[in-house]
Amino acid sequence: MAEKGSAEYYIQHHLTNLTFGRHPELGWTVAQNQEQIEAMGFMSIHLDTMLWSWLMGLLFIGLFMLASRRVTVGVPGGLQNFVEMVLEYVGGILKDTFNGRPSATIGAIALTLFFWILLMNTLKLVPIDYFPYSAELLGIPYFKIVPTTDINGTLGISFGVLLFIIYYSIKVKGAVGYAKELSSMPFAHWLFAPINFVLEVIALLVKPVTLAFRLFGNMYAGEVIFVLIALMPFYLQFIADVPWAIFHLLVIPLQAFIFTVLSVVYLNQAHEDH
């Protein structure tokens, strides 16, 4: 383990999640260092990722529920205007990429994906030291606030999207129809059915994996750069920090947009009979 105070320690500290899990010797506890986290393996959970994704999720739901409770057909107020703008935007994505009339559930999926991911990505603009350092002062070993820089966070969402894809495929084509679709391409001969099936299942699984890794990769890389910039002398940081943050003003909504659009495209494919 790196020495406390060294650059390596600093980087590692800022890129590690606050992990609560079952340690083979210590039982259920909060991991205090890398070794404990590794020892916990799968039976652990990132408290910071969960906390901040829920905070952002509740902010999203709260904002939109507040707006929908006060919704008026007449002249909309500020909050409703904002919410309707987001809805129009998501509606535009659906219109462009979804054939036919999307159901309320499809709309809700697209809206949730877009706005939730946007909020979580936006957390990245919080100066990199604020939360980890404050947490350290409070005795919390790690604290990484951006849920989308955690592969578990992004993969969790895209896994949800995968379940929706499978659900809609079966709903629209039936279990048999879906199985037939999976085994009849790309080689249109019954002899190739098992190979087709394997290929199609891989293609299906690749969808959420690419979704998750694209978002995670962009966010994580950005985070690493921010951490590296934070290692510069404080009076020079702004030279790199400001352009990078401005660049991220672009990346943050773009990644939320890409995730949403591709998810809608996949859901649309699930609705179409081949």
Partner: protein
């Protein structure tokens, strides 16, 4: 960068947020937006219709004005014609009446002249007879000499 339960936690969170969204966010907001869209469309249509109606009404008013103007001109003409006719008739009537009165007066005058002449004749014949009597100093039998006196009177 290790996989753990966060994965499932995040999936469950995602489903919960989507569920909330389906239940409380998407339908009321989209409904309101669609309703407003419809309302605006209706409003615009109503405005268009009102504009069309106004134009039609204006055209109608113009037509009516033109009609009434023509009608009034016609009425005025008629009145002029009628009054001229009436004046003509009255003139003719007056002329006829005047002629009649004049004729009557002339007839009266003629009659009076005739009467006066008759009286004068009678007087003259009486005077003539009286004169003749005085001259002849004899009585003339009026009946005997009536023819003579009458002849005399007729010559006057």
């Amino acid at each position: 960068m290790n996989m753990n339960l966060t994965l499932l936690g995040q999936t469950i969170s995602f489903f919960i947020f989507v569920w909330f969204c389906v239940k409380y966010v998407w339908p009321p907001l989209t409904t309101a937006m669609q309703e407003r869209q419809k309302k605006i469309a209706d409003g615009l249509e109503a405005a268009d219709r009102a504009k069309r109606d106004l134009q039609m009404a204006q055209e109608k008013a113009g037509d009516t004005l033109k009609d009434s103007r023509a009608q009034s001109a016609q009425l005025l003409d008629e009145a002029h014609r009628r009054s001229a006719q009436m004046i003509d008739t009255a003139k003719e009537e007056a002329k006829a009446a005047a002629e009649k009165i004049a004729a009557q007066a002339k007839a009266d005058v003629d009659a009076q002249i005739a009467t006066a002449r008759e009286q004068l004749r009678a007087e003259v014949s009486r005077l003539a007879v009286l004169g003749a009597e005085r001259i002849l100093q004899t009585e003339i039998d009026a009946a005997k000499h009536a023819k003579l006196v009458d002849d005399l009177a007729a010559k006057l």
